[in-house]
Symmetry: C2
Subunit: 218 residues, 2 copies
């Protein structure tokens, strides 16, 4: 998983640099896990370093405060999520279809990328305030769709929050009852959200049933 990481990435990285990066990543991963477990930023630094299996003092080699760690963790997760959406959206220009793809990819995170899904359910709607991920892309799509007369909803920000609420609800149901959420359930949510945006029901159904690229092993 980590061996071939810098295959094409960082050309000049000594073993010391790699060790340092590994410790940093262990702290970030621990923070993501703690957020997913609902411990959020209430965990003490000691609890974090223990979860990361790292000496207590090492924390300060990488971060000045818990807030800084949690922000770095949020950025890392949202960066991966955003790139996943962009890859799945390549070549699409219709805002309604772009919105549908972002939604459908995100609803599938529960089984394709459980770490991202856990982070999101642990963060809740506050994820909307972190730059990156689906939020800025969906906001852009909603505004473009409104300008193109494809969506009729008057306030893009409110619509975005409703979409986020629906997706978080779905991810949370999947966490608690994994059998209850499958691809069909995700696509039905995407369809419902398109109706919320003002897309006529038959067109919403069509958009939610288009082909999607596989993202499981990204």
């Amino acid at each position: 998983m980590a061996e071939a990481a810098s295959a094409a990435g960082a050309p000049r990285a000594s073993r010391l640099d790699r060790r340092k990066a590994r410790t940093r990543q262990a702290l970030i991963d621990a923070a993501v896990r703690l957020i997913a477990e609902g411990r959020g930023d209430r965990a003490s630094i000691q609890e974090i370093t223990e979860a990361a299996d790292v000496g207590f003092g090492s924390f300060y080699n990488h971060f000045d405060s818990k807030e800084q760690l949690f922000q770095a963790a949020a950025e890392e997760v949202l960066e991966r999520w955003g790139q996943m959406i962009d890859r799945a959206s390549a070549g699409i220009s219709d805002p309604a279809e772009l919105f549908a793809v972002g939604t459908r990819i995100t609803g599938r995170l529960g089984w394709t990328h459980p770490d991202i899904a856990g982070f999101l359910t642990g963060t809740g709607l506050d994820a909307l305030d972190i730059p990156g991920g689906l939020a800025p892309r969906a906001l852009r799509d909603i505004q473009a769709g409104r300008a193109a007369g494809r969506f009729s909803v008057p306030d893009a920000e409110i619509a975005l929050s409703a979409a986020a609420g629906g997706l978080l609800g779905l991810l949370r149901v999947h966490q608690r009852h994994p059998g209850r959420i499958d691809e069909a359930a995700v696509d039905q949510l995407a369809e419902a959200l398109l109706r919320l945006l003002g897309v006529p029901a038959p067109e919403a159904a069509r958009l939610a049933a288009l082909g999607l690229p596989e993202t499981g092993n990204w």
Copy 2:
């Protein structure tokens, strides 16, 4: 505000009891304010008692822990909110109309009951896990509407979370830009949420435009 409080409520309340109740209420109000300010449960007990203008030790006359105070505060706020919805819903039996009324009353909280609105935006989707308020009522309405064939959305819990997300987004926009949200904006969100549930667009528009009782001075 507090003088005529026990007019018909508690018949046997000594002055001592009233003083005790006032201190308890001051702590609860402070907790609600702190949650609204985003300090959440990260505030120390000292910070809470200072915000309540109450001696530090008095805290433990009323609560064993911060968690207990925040739970009591949540119950108190959600109880008021729920009763408001019930009064506005009196006499209505159509689940779609009940859902619309609950949504429209809640969207108006920003100016009718800023304390409840602030608590809700500070709590986020976690409010769904607290018994009371809109959530159990809306869940009941969504399930009844599904059973009656009035809604087509497959999972009531996910739909509820989307509705909560939309309402929280609206309340948050109102907090930041009060001029941007008026009654029309609230009713447009209710209409959009009804479309999400599967109500045909013209019927959704009708339901969101029905008469509503005044709730400002409740």
